[in-house]
């Protein structure tokens, strides 16, 4: 396997995980379905964190490993950092019990 800057786990994912710290405006290439795609990140992405591969509307699922890992809590642009500030888990939410 060649050294990767970023990895998309499954073709249906809408986020990509970076394997080195990435600065704003960096063009990151990754392979999806055997094809190389390039996305420009718009903010700093720490090692191991994710950015959006496409615009994600508030309330829409965030997909990694081909599965939903949470919902967007605000509109997310392509290349934006996706993490706990704009992604909300749907599971184990006792704080929402009875809602």
């Amino acid at each position: 396997m060649p050294k990767m800057d970023a990895v998309v786990m499954k073709p249906t994912d809408n986020v990509c995980t970076v394997l080195r710290e990435v600065d704003p405006d960096a063009a990151i290439s990754t392979v999806v379905n055997g094809e190389t795609i390039t996305v420009t990140v718009i903010e700093k992405i720490p090692f191991g964190h994710k950015f959006a591969l496409e615009p994600i509307r508030s309330g829409a699922p965030i997909i990694k490993y081909g599965e939903t890992i949470g919902l967007a809590t605000k509109d997310i642009q392509t290349g934006q950092h996706v993490h706990v500030h704009n992604l909300e888990s749907r599971r184990g939410r006792g704080d929402k019990a009875g809602d």
């Binding site: 396997m1 060649p2 050294k3 990767m4 990895v7 786990m9 995980t17 394997l19 720490p46 090692f47 191991g48 964190h49 994710k50 965030i62 990694k64 490993y65 599965e67 939903t68 890992i69 949470g70 996706v82 993490h83 706990v84 992604l87 909300e88 888990s89 749907r90 599971r91 184990g92 939410r93 006792g94 704080d95 929402k96 019990a97």
Partner: protein, 387 residues
């Protein structure tokens, strides 16, 4: 596919030959430690339990203590009690002896001996005799099918699901193909991935157990009225890039490989199955290791992204890092590196084969770093509060 291990008279297989100093109650911890520190070739555990526990909670503590004493990695046991506790040393010793009549088991009760100094001396004397006897045990060539592997990921980061866990998954598959058993645990860290495990279940009944178990686990957070995100993912997981329990879980289950799920069992329940089995344990690393070892795992492979040093007192615990940076930073504690997958130098398959080879070497006696450093982490899951 063979290793050198100890065949016990009841047919069970051990990969270590420990003399274990086992306190039945928190009040006996200091004496247990004192005995072990005097006698080379012993190991000991410490725990916070054994008194003022009720019902199922007391039963679970007792079961885990007995299971560690009866474990095939243990040659003999010195059980230490205070004398007035709920979980009495003589009952633990009798239960170990009932399961393993061939095993040397000695009981020391601090109040009967006349205090901690005399109890330590009595325990040390018994332990010294057991170590001499244990040293005469001979290893024999055994098949990998005798092995029960406990898998664990702790201090996960976003690379756990890319490097270390998928390669441990390859090793898990290799062990199952060789006829062995692999335990997937940490139920909390399967939330959001239970449908994938259910789809791999051998039948509808096991699939239903997958969904029921996750429902029960999630209900704990619901009934406490809290957001599980306070504890899962942990702050370190979040810093490492994991945004939700679903994301953590999906990376987590890779370590269980790709084979069919044979059964779902309770915490510390004896493991009789071959193939892949899911044991219900908390996500807390040490409670998980303790539960898996109590069930019968002889060794543990523990993947880590943030870095950890824990190890069972009786079952060798092999650490695998997700990145080379961590492997170099915490090299005293990490045995193998899966970071070469991230740097592009090796494939998941290659690292998985390396882990499997290491498992067989460790089973034959190669010491893990946590064994060399003397880690003896032990924690029993609680069901109820102390009264």
């Amino acid at each position: 596919m063979d290793f050198r291990g100890y065949r016990r008279p009841d047919g069970k297989v051990g990969i270590r030959n420990h003399v274990l100093i086992l306190p039945s109650v928190v009040c006996a911890n200091r004496v247990a430690r004192g005995i072990s520190q005097q006698i080379a070739g012993t190991t000991w555990v410490e725990h916070q339990h054994g008194c003022t526990q009720l019902g199922a909670d007391a039963e679970l503590t007792s079961h885990v203590l007995v299971s560690h004493g009866a474990h095939p990695n243990v040659f003999g046991v010195v059980v230490v009690g205070l004398g007035c506790e709920t979980i009495r040393a003589q009952d633990i010793a009798a239960a170990i002896k009932k399961q393993c009549p061939y095993k040397p088991v000695h009981t020391v009760i601090i109040q009967d001996e006349g205090g901690s100094v005399k109890a330590t001396a009595a325990g040390a004397s018994a332990a010294r005799r057991m170590v001499a006897e244990a040293s005469r045990a001979v290893q024999e060539t055994l098949a990998a099918s005798e092995l029960i592997l406990g898998t664990e990921c702790g201090g996960s980061d976003a690379c756990s699901g890319i490097s270390a866990n998928p390669s441990l998954g390859v090793a898990s598959d290799l062990l199952i193909e060789a006829g062995g058993t692999v335990i997937l645990a940490e139920t909390t860290e399967i939330i959001g991935a239970e449908h994938i495990m259910a789809a791999r279940a051998v039948n509808g009944q096991v699939a239903k157990k997958c969904n029921d178990l996750i429902e029960r686990c999630e209900a704990l957070a619901t009934n406490m009225g809290v957001d599980m995100r306070g504890g899962q993912p942990t702050p370190g997981n979040i810093e490492g890039g994991l945004s939700s329990i679903e994301e953590k879980s999906l990376g987590c289950i890779y370590k269980a490989g790709s084979k069919p799920l044979q059964d779902v069992i309770e915490y510390a329940e004896p493991i009789h199955q071959k193939g892949l089995v899911w044991m219900d344990t908390p996500g807390q690393d040490v409670e998980q290791i303790t539960g898996m070892v109590a069930g019968g795992c002889q060794l543990v492979v523990f993947t880590t992204g943030r870095g950890t040093c824990c190890g069972s007192p009786i079952a060798p615990t092999i650490k695998v890092s997700t990145t080379t940076k961590l492997f170099e930073k915490m090299n005293d504690n990490i045995d193998l590196d899966a970071g070469s997958i991230i740097s592009g130098e090796s494939t998941v398959q290659q690292v998985g084969e390396t882990i499997f080879k290491e498992m067989l070497e460790v089973a034959s006696g190669k010491l893990t770093k946590s064994e060399i450093l003397g880690f003896n982490d032990f924690a029993i899951k609680r069901i109820g509060p102390s009264m």
